[in-house]
């Protein structure tokens, strides 16, 4: 039996004495003898550890578990309320600030740019002015140089 195989067997089975083959090998191999001896130390040590008396739960153990459960429930709900409360405060602040800004800033002037609605209206005016032709569909097949304006392009001025 080779040393490797022998040690694998010991590691897997953790035998008290080992089969005859192990004993035979160990008798003639100093290194494996040391290996088996160390294993013996661990085995005896584990046995001693397993025999050690385990501590008993102290009186009122279950009551304390329930109290801790109660406390953690309180902690959880307090934490939730705190978090929710903080959010409400933030939201109120943001809302108040927005309202303040809306009231404080002038409705026209250098500080205030055009609103989206105003931009839209300006664009619409430009379009209806007819200065830019609006293409609908493909260019005509006659390869005309001038684009064709839609039939009812609105009330725009003529170019």
């Amino acid at each position: 039996m080779r040393c490797e195989e022998m040690r694998r067997m010991i590691l897997e089975d953790w035998p008290e004495e080992g089969p005859a083959a192990v004993r035979e090998h160990v008798a003639g191999c100093a290194e494996c003898r040391a290996y088996v001896r160390d294993f013996g130390v661990l085995r005896v040590g584990f046995r001693a550890l397993a025999a050690e008396p385990v501590p008993e739960p102290s009186w009122g153990f279950a009551t304390r578990v329930l109290r801790r459960l109660e406390e953690t429930r309180d902690e959880v709900s307090v934490e939730f309320l705190e978090r929710a409360g903080r959010r409400v405060v933030y939201a109120t602040c943001v809302l108040a600030l927005t309202l303040l800004l809306a009231l404080a800033l002038p409705s026209s002037g250098p500080l205030r740019g055009p609103t989206t609605a105003e931009l839209y209206l300006a664009q619409a005016e430009e379009v209806t002015a007819g200065s830019i032709p609006i293409f609908t569909g493909e260019l005509p097949s006659n390869n005309g140089a001038t684009p064709v304006a839609p039939q009812n392009s609105g009330t725009g001025k003529k170019p």
Partner: protein
């Protein structure tokens, strides 16, 4: 004392009530299992001063997770899994802060322990040597990775079979065997290092 099926039926009832949030029923389960959990926690963590606190945390975790228990395995096995996972997390965190021991053992004690290991029927260790050996192997265990400590603790200290460990850790038998093999090998290497550095 009632018969076993009656006790089991009672336990199922308590678990069902606890699953609906009944703390009183959960308290009865704690009463039933507190010794077992405490022993398991102590054997895995080996900290007398922390065992009770950790055992309490196991029950708190168990209560929070009790709805995930599906009655397929015994409640005790499920609770063991919660305990083992909690200890594993604790050991993983604790190991980072664990100091490397430079441990001394009297030559005489070493000689006696080795002699006993070679011949278990031979001269018995006196209580002092027993304590020295416990301390020694305990410290070797402290230095081991959390994974090794859990599997060795369940096998060598709790005395569970490979099948029972596989059930608790949700692993197959061969994986448990491989882990045991690796854990023993690593401990042995550590023992060799100690011997060489002595």
């Amino acid at each position: 004392m009632g018969s076993l099926p009656a006790q089991e039926a009672q336990e199922v009832q308590w678990v069902e009530r606890a699953q609906r949030g009944d703390r009183e029923a959960f308290g009865l389960l704690v009463e039933c299992y507190q010794r077992r959990v405490m022993s398991q926690v102590f054997r895995l963590v080996r900290r007398r001063d922390e065992a009770e606190d950790l055992a309490q945390e196991v029950f708190i975790k168990a209560f929070r997770a009790i709805r995930s228990y599906n009655f397929r395995s015994p409640f005790g096995a499920w609770l063991s899994r919660v305990a083992v996972n909690h200890c594993y997390d604790y050991l993983r965190k604790e190991r980072a802060s664990r100091i490397s021991y430079h441990w001394q053992m009297a030559e005489e004690s070493v000689r006696r322990i080795e002699a006993q290991a070679e011949n278990p029927q031979g001269s018995r260790l006196d209580p002092e040597q027993q304590a020295a050996l416990r301390d020694f192997v305990g410290k070797l265990l402290d230095r081991a990775p959390a994974e090794d400590r859990v599997v060795l603790g369940l096998k060598e200290l709790e005395g569970l079979s490979v099948e029972e460990i596989a059930e608790i850790l949700k692993l197959n038998r061969s994986t448990v065997k491989v882990r045991l093999h690796r854990a023993r090998k690593r401990m042995l290497e550590d023992l060799k290092r100690w011997r060489e550095g002595r």
